[in-house]
Point group: C2
Chain length 319, copies 2
């Protein structure tokens, strides 16, 4: 059994990442295919199955080598059926992903939300370091979240647990969010949100800043300018850290995690972001909760999804 | 086995509630004894054991009739050992409650935090109605919380999960809280906090109010005055509902519960409190989370603790 491989699949809006992974969580091989959005994503299960078959051929193996297939998919997932309620970027609606993939490959398939499998990946082989109580926040174009309690992902009653990006961080006069409400953490801590905050500050203040000459403002540039001492950029970083530290503290008061892992493109700012976030976290968390938690940057980057998806197979197939 | 009883014990600062309960969750007998704070609460396990023995005698039974003893105790609990880290009102510090009670009674003992067992009680026989994902908020002198996910209580890494009362609700210029930080939900939604808000408003505004003549202001009186149309009292109720709805929404974004149960003395205000809280909740929760959750008032009142403590015995003894 342990000599078998686990297949991990991470479905994104533009590419699908795939990997064969050992029961110890080591990557044997990894590759990517483009996300085929024809017919509202209807061809995706076939594409994944064909790609796995081809790669098995290259390794002179058959599907017998695989213990099963784990999948991270965008959108809330029906935990009982492994179907995707809504996958906005792909066009899925109540899409029977698990069933379709099982039919194609004749292997057990386990599906969870992409932010959740990334959290499981970090728990298993990354910054979570095996912690059974953990919170993951992914700061990318949006803000995603995955909450692990007692060693497993929280799903909630309709697959929407861990929606940390949509915690109300700005209580008064918050910016509108894609989700329909306003002031969500996503509006101030995603790459897009950080750029929005900077543009707002450039317009409403007279603070001199190197950012005033920039035509293509990015969150990366804002952090770089802050590191060089630019006052306006430093103000923005402090603002982001305030909202992020406050929101993470309020999440931690609910689940009392051992590890809080910050990932995604924005987290590449490293300590420049993490240190002020830690300070705000300690200020806003219940003292006992603050004592118990370690804040850290994610380790696995793009591999978190496929590794977490493989974890699903390893841990759910016995249930 | 099913003809046996479960013993439920709920240890409070002034009284200890006890009950014999069937495996269906029905109360056979319930009674109370005073909380004995001599020697920093050291005599409490003996008091509980003696009281259970006496009551068994009255029923012409021995400890053989009991499947075990469940206990709700104040303060964070070490989940592995059933010891109480700190029980401030009683004087306990790292008190081996489970071990001491087991020695006294020669029965299996299961200990959890009092707010957590109250939540389990509501889940089993009260307003939770068997929901596997649930949030309980208890609005009393303080604000307590219990969070149930996948049918069991969240404890977190050091027993501090579910500390909903210490979520930061007032981000700027919040009042100091007993926990050491400021702006906690407890400072604006506990009975004490509501009275504080009213006093503040009486001092800083000129709004005419029947409360201006009251020497002994209580949260009950504030709700009664609001029901009669008093503008200042109505403003206070709206303020409480705003902070409570916002905080509950942020908790729900983490765990996506099916039921949110509001209990404690302040919850006796009923719809006068619940309706504006629901409105604020819907405004601040992620739409899918708002759809999935039903807000309701707790049903079991003072019995929630002993019933939830009995649930511990029923569900943990097989593990």
């Amino acid at each position: 059994m342990d000599k078998k491989w686990l297949a991990g699949v991470d479905i994104g809006g533009t590419t699908i990442k795939l990997a064969f992974i050992t029961f110890n969580g080591d990557i044997v091989d990894k590759w990517e295919i483009p996300t085929n959005k024809n017919e509202n994503g209807n061809e995706i299960p076939g594409d994944i199955a064909n790609s796995i078959q081809e790669k098995l051929n290259e390794h002179n193996q058959t599907t017998n080598k695989l213990s099963g297939v784990g999948v991270g998919a965008p959108g809330p997932i029906n935990d009982d059926f492994g179907s995707v309620y809504v996958g906005i970027n792909i066009g899925w609606k109540n899409f029977p992903l698990k069933e379709r993939l099982q039919d194609e490959l004749s292997l057990p398939v386990f599906v969870d939300n992409d932010a959740n499998v990334a959290a499981l990946g970090e728990m298993w082989k990354g910054a979570g370091d095996g912690a059974r109580d953990m919170v993951c926040v992914t700061l990318g174009t949006g803000v995603g979240g995955g909450v692990i309690a007692n060693g497993d992902i929280l799903h909630g009653v309709n697959g929407a647990a861990g929606e940390i990006g949509h915690i109300t961080a700005v209580v008064e006069n918050g910016a509108p969010c894609n989700c329909g409400k306003s002031g969500c953490l996503e509006t101030v801590a995603s790459a897009t949100g950080i750029v929005r905050l900077a543009k707002e500050s450039l317009q409403t203040t007279e603070i001199p800043s190197v950012l005033r000459n920039e035509k293509n403002l990015t969150s990366k540039l804002i952090f770089e300018s802050a590191a060089k001492g630019d006052q306006l950029a430093k103000n923005i970083v402090n603002k982001v850290a305030f909202y992020l530290g406050l929101s993470i503290a309020n999440v931690a008061n609910v689940t009392n995690p051992q590890k809080i892992v910050v990932g995604g493109g924005v987290s590449k700012a490293g300590d420049l972001l993490l240190e002020p976030v830690k300070e705000q976290f300690r200020h806003h968390a219940f003292p006992r909760v603050a004592e118990g938690a370690e804040l850290t940057i994610a380790k696995l980057e793009n591999d978190a999804g496929v590794i977490g998806a493989a974890w699903l197979v390893k841990n759910k197939s016995g249930e």
